[in-house]
Every structure is written in structure tokens, then in C-alpha cells.
Symmetry: C2
Subunit: 362 residues, 2 copies
């Protein structure tokens, strides 16, 4: 699928096909609804209030964010139901920020330690409503989260500190290790959440929220005890999601437009480097992105402002001045590099949207 | 060297010790002056007008930038002598931007192709002064630039198109491949530039500008025919520069302040992830950054907002809520992730400086 880029574009730029975005939003909503699972999209992918509203208008039950900064932007944009799926440690300046958000929105915050629970409690001391928390479960990624059997320990500390325990959540991020790991990571999400929810119920907690989350696992782990899912990347898609089988190549809605600035025997150089494409790689993907119009090309090296692309011996490359489309490996950090997205319909620019929470990474 | 971080800091944050920055600026200026070589620092590292002014006040002959966006910010900040060390293709919106910069400043622009030279010429058609260009030479990195013997071909196209050929430049970026490559990359810079300059003189061109550039090679290739050097990273330093032997550990002026948000057997998690530290790695450096206070720790994996740090078996780690300092592998893309730097003296905050050209990557 070779996208049509607008003429006279200033590069590097992010070009988003709005029709594909709309289809991606509609499809994920329909798929999860058909499974009886709520969709709470992770908005760290796009960081744009307007896109979050499109997701809510399509039927999302609320949104997910990864940082207080993202929550502040979304709440200021009028969105009220916000889950901060991160073990926020509400100390120092973050205590006041958390308290402000709690006063302004229907907040749910992740917790995976007694220290985290106590800091959240102290931050909202004296507030009118109880702060809701969700206990993070490690379903196999070995990042944050506790073992399912330990969920009641954290929940008790939270309850004793005056917090409302809303349920449990996990992120089966080990799905990203390889295409053949996706199905087992999804199964891990379901099993770990079921075990944690059962342990909480046995300990006297209600668990209305049993939340799984990732784009590759979204259609696989929206089952069993799971009540909601938090995919994010599906809205734009990227090379990694295609490789993992999570989306079709036609569902990639965002491309990096880059200009060929230099051409030599066997290689050419584009003006999308590490400050655009980022150095995100995956063991099952060669190079730093795909170039649909030059499928045999490999983006082999990145400097800050240079992408060095190699070609098989003898294959002619593009000319200096040509503008080409790149599918980034991982779209989330790429969007965070840009202040605006160029919105197109049928290859024609129709708008420019600010990336509202760009840089709000804490 | 374990830096002192300010109390009650909101993380992730970039903390810059101004005394170390001042010493780094003074030292590089003195070292190059003692070799009779002009310093034209690459400001893509800091993207801050105020820091560029400090470098000029210390004796720099002008500044280097990597993009028209950086040039626009620096020129708007009152800086006039700007070298865009990049093969700018001045087509589409970039033609008008290049022309505006040429009208407002003493610009020099890189060129490595006939197409690039002709586009620059067309962009400044009718302007009062001639645009100066420098021919980029490939000294071994195999990125942009032409072979030294081909410099006259590009220079002739540029001259025939009405541009003034100021000289030649190169970036011995292959120095970054390994510590043992630095000396030979520096020698490559000197030899390639000397050959190119001689070829240009033989073809009837003056070459007042013979410009080498990188922090690891700065003190090694400021010799022979080289008239100026363009190091950038020396101003802040980073883990890579220490490993390459370019700076001492004490010269690292910038640290990422991060909070421990989760702790488990054998690992802990900090709130500096891929949108903060970036996924820049080097084959001779384990992990995504160094933690001076925990020298045996490895930042093994990054998600957008998580840095997963592993510890040797049995070694106790920091506590949830602890704030730790991280030395990033490569500081340039990290600075580009932040809107501001927290400026400290003796561990105390004294100011907050905007990263003026943050995101101006094209």
C-alpha cells in the first residue's frame, strides 16, 4: 500500500489519513462491543483531545493515559473519565497535580506498591470524593505490577488508606517480543487478571474493572473475566503492529513524509532521522521503518537528522528531492516528536491538528 | 560522580549543572584556540539561544545548526553567523524559508549534489547577496557527502548556479562506532578535507572554510588543513562521550532526574522511558543509560514511560519514591524531548531555560 502524499509538503512531517483513522476507531469499537468488553483507548499514542473525543463519540467507555501530564491535557479538553494506567507516585509536585485532577475529573489511578497507595492517599487527603485505584498485575512482561496472588495485599493497603479499589489491570507487553508470542501473551492477560480478580473477591473486594491492554492482544484477550481493554496504537497503526498481525497494512493511517536529501551508489539519505523516526526497533523488523514505495530498501542507520537507506546491489533508488512515505516501527514515540499532524483525506490536506499532550511525559 | 539533584523535583526532568556547562564551553574554546582552529559549535545538542550566545561570548566564530528550523530560531534570537551543516534541499516550503534566512543572516549551507545546489540557487534568485555553500565530503561515515576528488564537480555546479563556494566540511561520524575508531576517524577527517581542499584549489576555488566536526574527534582533527571544528555534544556530555574518551565523567553536565515508581525482586522501574531517554544505544554500552548511584544497575528495557532497571542477583535497589540521576547514552535526542531544562548551581535550581528549537527538526 503506497500512500499518496500531499504536494509541496515541508518535511519531515506526519501525515494522517483521517478516513483510515475513522475506520480504525469504528472497527475496534465494534469488535470489542461484539465481545461485550468496554473499550478504554490508550491516548498516549495520539495525545490529541480531538481524537480522544472521536473515540468517545464512537462508544469508548472512557480513556486511558500514561502520565499526569496527559491526564491534565485531556481533562482540560473536557474529558472526565480518565484512567492513569501507571503506578503514579504522588510525591513532590505530583501530589498537588494528582489532587487537582481528582477534584476535576473521574480519575482512576494505577497502584502496585504500598508506598504508591499511601502517597496517593496523602495527596487526596480531605478531598470530597474517594480516589479510585486499580491494582496493576504483572501478566508476564516483568515490568510494573504485582503477581496476581499479591493483589489483595496492595488492595488492603489502599483500602486502609481510604482509597476505593476499582479493580485490576495489566498490560501484556510481552506480546511485542515476537509475532508468535501474541497469542500466549493474550492468554496470560486473561489468566492473570482472572486469578487476581478472584483473589480480590475472596478478600472481600468488588472488582468492577478488570482491564487488559495492548493493541496486539486486543481482539484475543477481550474475553473471560476481562471487562475492558486499553489498546492505543490501533488508531494509527505502525510497522510493528502489521508484523505482529494486529492490523492489516491498509490500516496504517500515519506516515512520515521525508525528502531524499542525498543519493549515492547503493544508498540514499532522507531527512527523517532519530529525532523523527526514533531508534525504536524490533528483533523481527530490519531497520528503522518501512518505505512502501521501495520495499527492498532498508533504513539502516539514523543520525539526528539523517536516515541512511541502503538498497540491494544494482537496484536504482529515488532521486534527490523526491518525497517518500515511511511507516515508522512504533508510532507512539514518533507522534511525541511533532507539534502537529497534517490531516489528509484522499491525499489532500484538510487540516493541521496540534499534538496537545506532546512532551507531557511525566 | 553522583550528582546532587534538587529536592521536590517533578520527574522526568533534565537537570543541567551550569558550572560544568561553563567549564565545558571554556575548555573546548581554549583547546581549539591553542591549535589555531576556530570553534563553530553545533547547537543541535542544546537548541537554546542563550547557550549559543554563551558559546559565542566565549570566542566561537559562529554556530552550526542541522535544520532550517534551528537556523530560524537562532537567527530570530539575534545570531547572525549560521552554518547549516546539512545538504538542504530547498524545494517546496523550504525554498521560501531558505530565502528568508539568507536575507536575515550570514548563512552558509551544505551541499552534496547538483540538484541541491540548483535548488539553493533558485531559492535565492534575485537576492542582494550571494549565498555561500560548503561542499560536504564523506570522510568514511558513508552517510551524506561526496568523495574528496568529486568536490570540484559539485563546486562548479554551485558556482555556475551563482552560489559562492566557501569551502568544504565533513563529519567523521564513524568515530562513534567504537572507542578504538575515534583516532582513525579523526585522521580520516583531516586527510579527506585536505584532499578535497587541494582539489578545489587546483580547480580554481578558494577554500577559506575547511570544517571538521564531532565531539570525539574535536581535539584530534583540529590540525593540518582544518580551519574550524563543529563539536556539539561537549557542552553537556553524555555516557557515549565518556565511553569514547572524549570527555571525563566529571564533565557530564546534564542528568535525567527520574523517580523509582515500582520495585520488585531483581529490578526496579523508573519514570524515564523511551519518550525521555530515547532508545539510542551503542554496541559498547549496555542498556539505555547509566545510573551513577547504582553502577551495577542496567537500564535493560524501555517502554514509553517506563525504564526497567535490573540489578545483579541479591543486590538491593533503591526504594519506591527515590529520585535518581541517569546519564543518557546520547544527549542530543534527549534534550529534544523536553520543553525546558532545569538549571542548577551546586545542586540548587537557579533557573528554567526553554529549549527554544525543540521539535524544529526540519
Amino acid at each position: 500500500v503506497i500512500p499518496t502524499l500531499p504536494a509541496a509538503i515541508d518535511t519531515p512531517a506526519l501525515v494522517v489519513d483521517l478516513e483510515i483513522v475513522e475506520a480504525n476507531i469504528e472497527r475496534m469499537q465494534r469488535e470489542l462491543a461484539s465481545r461485550g468488553v468496554a473499550l478504554r483507548p490508550h491516548t498516549k499514542t495520539h495525545k490529541i483531545v480531538r481524537l480522544a473525543r472521536m473515540q468517545l463519540d464512537a462508544g469508548a467507555a472512557g480513556i486511558t493515559v500514561g502520565t499526569l501530564g496527559e491526564a491534565e491535557v485531556m481533562v482540560s479538553g473536557g474529558i472526565r473519565d480518565v484512567f492513569v494506567a501507571y503506578p503514579v507516585i504522588a510525591i513532590g509536585p505530583k501530589a498537588g497535580r494528582l489532587r487537582d485532577l481528582h477534584d476535576r475529573a473521574e480519575l482512576i489511578v494505577g497502584v502496585d506498591s504500598a508506598e504508591g497507595a499511601r502517597a496517593l492517599s496523602a495527596a487526596v487527603a480531605g478531598a470530597s470524593g474517594q480516589l479510585r485505584v486499580a491494582v496493576e498485575i504483572d501478566s508476564g512482561q516483568a515490568r510494573t505490577g504485582v503477581a496476581p496472588a499479591d493483589a489483595p495485599d496492595i488492595a488492603r493497603v489502599a483500602r486502609d488508606a481510604g482509597l476505593e479499589v476499582a479493580g485490576v489491570f495489566t498490560h501484556g507487553g510481552h506480546a511485542y517480543a515476537a509475532p508468535e508470542r501474541v497469542a500466549s501473551a493474550a492468554a496470560d492477560e486473561v489468566a492473570s487478571l482472572a486469578e487476581a480478580a478472584a483473589a480480590l473477591r475472596a478478600a472481600g473486594f468488588e472488582t468492577p474493572m478488570v482491564s487488559a491492554g495492548s493493541t496486539p492482544t486486543a481482539l484475543l484477550s477481550a474475553t473471560g473475566a476481562v471487562t475492558e481493554h486499553r489498546p492505543g496504537t490501533y488508531v494509527f497503526g505502525d510497522r510493528q503492529q502489521v508484523a505482529l498481525g494486529a492490523i492489516r497494512p491498509q490500516a496504517v493511517a500515519l506516515h512520515v513524509a521525508a525528502t531524499v536529501v542525498s543519493a549515492h551508489e547503493g544508498r540514499f539519505v532522507i531527512d527523517a532521522g532519530a529525532k523523527t523516526l526514533t531508534k525504536d526497533i524490533a528483533p523481527y523488523l530490519p531497520g528503522y521503518g518501512a518505505i512502501p514505495a521501495w520495499p527492498n530498501a532498508m533504513i539502516e542507520r539514523l543520525s539526528d537528522y539523517h536516515g541512511v537507506v541502503t538498497l540491494p546491489h544494482g537496484e536504482p533508488g529515488p532521486q534527490v528531492g523526491d518525497v517518500i512515505a515511511v511507516v515508522p516501527n512504533h508510532v507512539c514515540p514518533v507522534v511525541n516528536e511533532f507539534d502537529t499532524l497534517l490531516i489528509v483525506r484522499e491525499g489532500r490536506p484538510v487540516d493541521r491538528w496540534p499534538v496537545d499532550a506532546r512532551g507531557r511525559n511525566g
